[in-house]
């Protein structure tokens, strides 16, 4: 059924004579809307209550403004550089971020509350009823609409202009193909086909390039400082995280700090306690990877790649904090608990005769970290 009741449309002269209220009612009627209630919230003007409401709204807006200014002041002048705890400055320093949040938060809260209060106090709460049209459109409307569309298609002559049709199809199709590449491109282009590069998943930053020795380097907190590791550095029952270093990177600050950041670089250099070292079980093919009591395992968990750097020096377990995998440092770092199924890759290490520093004889003989599609083991 159609609920539309024909609304009498005013003539031009009538329209010119209508007041604003009448126009409002007419507009509603044309849309099938009827205003039931349209109360003025302050029927008596200038009462004290109205004045109070006005001041309340103004108060919140003013508060927002003041808090905004306070934010600017805090941002510019509050002591923001780090102060160590202990001194009296430390207290003020710790308030910097909370004050930023407090002032700007108060400002936006003031604006919000102001707007809300304004609508609640001053905008009339109208009650309107609108007729809804159910069912499909009239038969007349449907027939005329179809005719209109067909006519538009016909008059544009697209049906008989095959050159335009084909060229448009070509352009749109190629564009669609280009957009689709984003979705399926990863399945087509293999980023690991060059498996001999050190940036492939098969190798790490320890890969020897240009026949240059890769030394073991410690992180001293200063990324540009190079400190190499020698066998007398660690006490028994110690663990140290080491990173690769090449002589050619000596003055290359960027390469030096990149070596500390690269995700597959960290290696745990563990010095076992002498009595534990006698119980070590070595993996086949890795019998000479250690140097005395020193064993070097990757820090990247074979489960999902978290840093497995929780080394227990008495039980000789290496723990991964993410999913509680445990590896036994006395048995080629094989998994003994948790979800990991592969051992941690072991780095073959040796001491350089000339300098007395540790270096890696080669890269890991297997990929480090979690499984990937091409990996079979």
């Amino acid at each position: 059924m159609s609920a539309k009741e024909p609304v009498e449309r005013p003539t031009e002269a009538e329209l010119a004579d209508m007041s604003r209220d009448e126009l409002l009612v007419l507009g509603g009627k044309l849309d099938g809307v009827e205003l039931v209630e349209y109360p003025d919230p302050w029927p008596v003007k200038g009462t004290r209550a109205e004045k109070r409401a006005e001041r309340l709204v103004a108060f919140w807006f003013a508060l927002a403004g003041l808090a905004g200014l306070a934010f600017l002041g805090v941002f510019l002048f509050w002591p923001s550089s780090y102060k160590a705890p202990g001194g009296s400055d430390h207290f003020w320093y710790t308030l910097f971020t909370p004050m930023l949040g407090l002032t700007l938060g108060l400002s936006i809260l003031g604006l919000g509350v102001g707007v809300l209060l304004y609508t609640r106090k001053f905008v009339p709460h109208e009650l309107a009823i609108q007729q809804r049209n159910d069912g499909r459109s009239d038969e007349v409307d449907r027939a005329t609409m179809v005719a209109h569309l067909a006519d538009a298609g016909d008059r544009s002559t697209i049906a008989r202009r095959s050159l335009i049709k084909r060229s448009a199809g070509f352009g749109m199709g190629a564009f669609g193909l280009g957009a689709g590449v984003f979705a399926i491109g990863g399945l087509v282009h293999n980023p690991w086909s060059q498996s001999e590069s050190k940036d492939s998943l098969w190798h790490t930053g320890w890969l020897e390039t240009n026949g240059e020795k890769v030394f073991l380097r410690r992180d001293t907190g200063d990324p540009h400082q190079v400190v190499l590791v020698s066998p007398e550095d660690l006490d028994v029952g110690s663990m140290e995280t080491v990173f690769p270093y090449r002589e050619s990177e000596k003055d290359d600050h960027e390469a030096l700090s990149r070596a500390l950041k690269r995700s597959d670089n960290p290696v745990m250099l563990i010095r076992l306690r002498t009595e534990d070292a006698q119980r070590v079980v070595k993996h086949q093919g890795q019998e000479d990877f250690n140097f005395g009591d020193y064993y070097a395992y990757t820090k990247i968990c074979s489960h999902l790649g978290c840093p497995t750097s929780l080394y227990e020096q008495r039980t000789n377990r290496i723990l991964c904090p993410c999913h509680q995998s445990q590896f036994d440092a006395l048995q080629y770092a094989k998994p003994i608990f948790g979800p990991a199924t592969r051992k941690l890759a072991q780095l073959p290490i040796e001491v350089d005769e000339e300098t007395g520093y540790f270096y890696a004889r080669s890269d890991f003989i297997e990929p480090v970290g979690p499984a990937f599609w091409e990996r079979k083991s």
Binding site: A84, P85, H125, G221, L234, D235, G237, L310, Q313, R314
Partner: protein, 274 residues
């Protein structure tokens, strides 16, 4: 009448003896207090000094204390007792300092982890035991001369870097501690003195790895201590409550609950009829 008099005298005597008893009690308490004060001043302020000197009397005293408190687990010749205690030959001054000052030794019971408790031995007794154990030979890690705040380095930022690299995997990045395997755990670092942190780093108590002076120089260790001290003991607490210091989990939960409640409140207020 005689009876009257005797009772009067008795009452007088009674009063006298009561007075005497009261004075005696007060005196006794005063003397006891003085004695305690004297003992206190004898025992407490003596600062720890490096206990490497071989004073025979001190070594003998240490041997006595050792025989009374340590021998059942560590053996008559410090050789250790199987399944009870390790050998103490060459453990070094730092290790003894850490284990006894944190009250871990003498241990209450065998278990996955020996826990911190109030120190059982007094500082003098610890000095004596240290002298005795060190006299049995074997050079272990020692403590530096400095004590207390002098052990805090002046670069806590570098200390923070080194802490996150070497310590945070077990102790959490602000020293809140964390779980290890089979019931063991890395303890939180609140309320641990500078000397104890230093001693733990060089001696590697329980399952903690050791950090030799060539791996972390003494200056680096002091920077780490400065960092630890700057984030523990309620120092890293600008919001008023650390809510566990676990980072995003607890903070996110609180923000969600508080924020959601506030949002619901505001929504109700907006929708309410005036």
């Amino acid at each position: 009448m005689t009876a009257d008099r005797t009772s009067e005298v008795a009452a007088k005597m009674n009063r006298h003896s009561k007075f005497r008893r009261r004075t005696a009690a007060t005196l006794a308490i005063g003397i006891a207090l003085l004695a305690v004060g004297a003992l206190y001043s004898l025992f407490v302020p003596e600062p720890q000094t490096a206990a490497a000197q071989q004073d025979p009397a001190l070594v003998r005293q240490g041997e006595q204390i050792y025989n009374n408190t340590c021998i059942s687990c560590h053996g008559a010749n410090l050789e250790g007792v199987k399944d009870r205690g390790q050998s103490l030959v060459g453990v070094g001054e730092a290790s003894i300092y850490f284990q006894t000052h944190t009250g871990r030794m003498p241990a209450k019971s065998q278990g996955a982890q020996i826990q911190r408790k109030p120190a059982f031995l007094s500082p003098e007794e610890i000095d004596a035991v240290t002298a005795y154990i060190v006299s049995k030979g074997g050079a272990g890690p020692t403590l530096p001369e400095e004590r207390g705040e002098a052990l805090r380095g002046d670069n806590p930022a570098r200390g923070g870097e080194l802490f996150r690299l070497n310590c945070a995997s077990c102790h959490n990045f602000t020293g809140r501690g964390g779980a290890l395997s089979s019931g063991k755990y890395a303890p939180a670092l609140d309320g641990v003195s500078e000397e104890e942190i230093y001693a733990a780093m060089v001696s590697g108590p329980q399952n903690m790895p050791k950090f030799s002076d060539r791996q972390l120089t003494p200056e680096e260790k002091e920077d780490i201590i400065a960092y630890v001290k700057s984030v523990t003991d309620g120092n890293n607490n600008p919001g008023g409550n650390p809510i566990g210091g676990l980072g995003p989990q607890s903070e996110g939960l609180i923000a969600f609950i508080v924020g959601m409640a506030a949002l619901i409140g505001v929504t109700l207020w907006i929708g309410a009829k005036s």
